[in-house]
Amino acid sequence: MTDITQSAELAPGGGRTIERVRLLLRSRSGLVGLILIVILGVLSLLSAFSLLPYDPIAQDPPSRLQPPSAEHWFGTDQFGRDVFARVAAGVANSALISIVAVAFATVVGTLAGIIAGFYRGVSDGVISGVTNVLFAFPPLLLALSLASVFDRNWFTIAVAIAIVYVPIFIRVTRGPVLSLREIEYVKAATSTGQSRAMVMFRHVLPNITSIIIVQVTLSLSWAVLTEASLSFLGLGTPPPAPSLGSMIFEARTLIGIAPWTMFAPGVVVVLLVVGLNLLGDGLRDALDPRNRGKK
């Protein structure tokens, strides 16, 4: 996992943003990841604002199962729906759910992690206990069971995925905070009479942002995979809303006659996850204090 370097290298964040972006763009994986994510991001925005020529759920029986052509870039499916539009909408759906889920997990997990690490005592006991309990479930299984509890729509799916990833954020923030609270300037800030909440937000939080940023990127890739798996199992956003997982599920029986219905969503989901993984790796290198100042 990402580790933090202690003492002097832990100067409060900010001010180095440009250098970090430069480092990110210099690393091959970071650059490739960024490009992939930007392309897919634009695609999902185009879809979200209905700027693509075809409606992802409009059926057109006469033109069903057509191979890729100039008109239908990725062909059409068994109902004559444009696969390109559906893939774009699937990416948008997946992005929406994953971003909401990871945002929730980040806020709740980071806050809980900082509180546990900074205050120790009872709050640490309770928070760490809850973390251990949630870690005792395989992630996909937990998401499945939670998704079965709620009425399914994109928001409840996002909440189910979020609950699965909260403990990861608790774990990656609590450790560094534990060591940060023993560092001189944090102690100094506390001793000058600044309130604990103030110290947490002004001195502790900025020091763990790089850890959180890397974790956010990697968690997004897991969230995309979890959402796709859930919808493949029929426990994602209900149809006809397009989702990459359910598209692949439906394409199973068509693979012999219309392989593009499988390849298009398959390749796109892999590119999405590859992009996020590469971006995460690139960010980790760029934000690692040990790599600072490297040419």
């Binding site: 206990g129 251990n132 309990v133 890739s221 798996s229 199992l233 499988m262 892999v270 996850v273």
Partner: protein, 314 residues
Amino acid sequence: MLRRVLAALATLLGVAVFVFIMLRAIPGNQITAGLGTEAAALTPAQKQALEAYYGLDQPLIVQFFSWLGNIFTGNLGFSARAQQSVLELTAQSLPVTLELAVFSIVLALVMGIPLGMLSASKPDSPRDAFGQLVGLAGLSIPAFLLATTLLAWLAASLGFNPNGKGFAYFFEDPWLNLQQMLLPSIVLGFGIAAPIMRTTRTAVLEIRSNDFIRTARAKGVPARRLQVEHVLGNALVPIVTMTGLQFGYLLGGAVVVEQIFSLPGIGRQVLLGIQQKEYALVQSTVLVIALAFVIVNLLTDVLYRMIDPRVRAA
């Protein structure tokens, strides 16, 4: 060690509370689950009698402990659809998942460790790039995608589809059983090889930079022995931890692959329970999986202590 066991027990109690709360959070109860829409037609007296029968009129805390007591005595509930107790169902499905998990882990280790060592042998070289690329593919290709394409492709081109036949337990028909386990193990093994490869690479690189390796080399330890005994021996510690974690995940996380290859494992048991709204089945099975996971973690801890040269020497 005792502390670890106590912590594991506390976690299990927490798991039980969490599962119980989840059970309560589901709209409806055993009565509506059993009777469906007809539950609305019950008279207040009938409803009260049923509630008393299921113990739903008791305070939550009483309900929790009677549920927990039942579990301790092996009463995990009854599946109306399968007409079998959850304990019996689990006794059939858990070995299937365990078999799958063992095969997948073995394949993952066979792929992941050599690949990680290959990558680490010359960082930033073409062979490192190759190893990293395979690792990235393992992390990024969803199991369900790999499984569906592999299944469709092999069935179409070679006519190989052992999973199309009914499932054969190992003791009934070992040959068919092994064939049926082959593809799912490859799919899961490929996915798990990725984190194992990455862990191996990082660990080997880190250990190689240590002074004791330089000393050993200076003393003239042969390269092969240096690699195996000194480097890999020490790298095993994080690899074992990662393997244990992944093995634990496999116990319930193989649900998608079990579903695609029609393996009647424990993950599929949960999924069927969800689809058929048999919540007692779901909750008890989830509890069993969490229990297995905690036990695996505990065993990993013990194993880790056994192989870590530093802990062993102490």
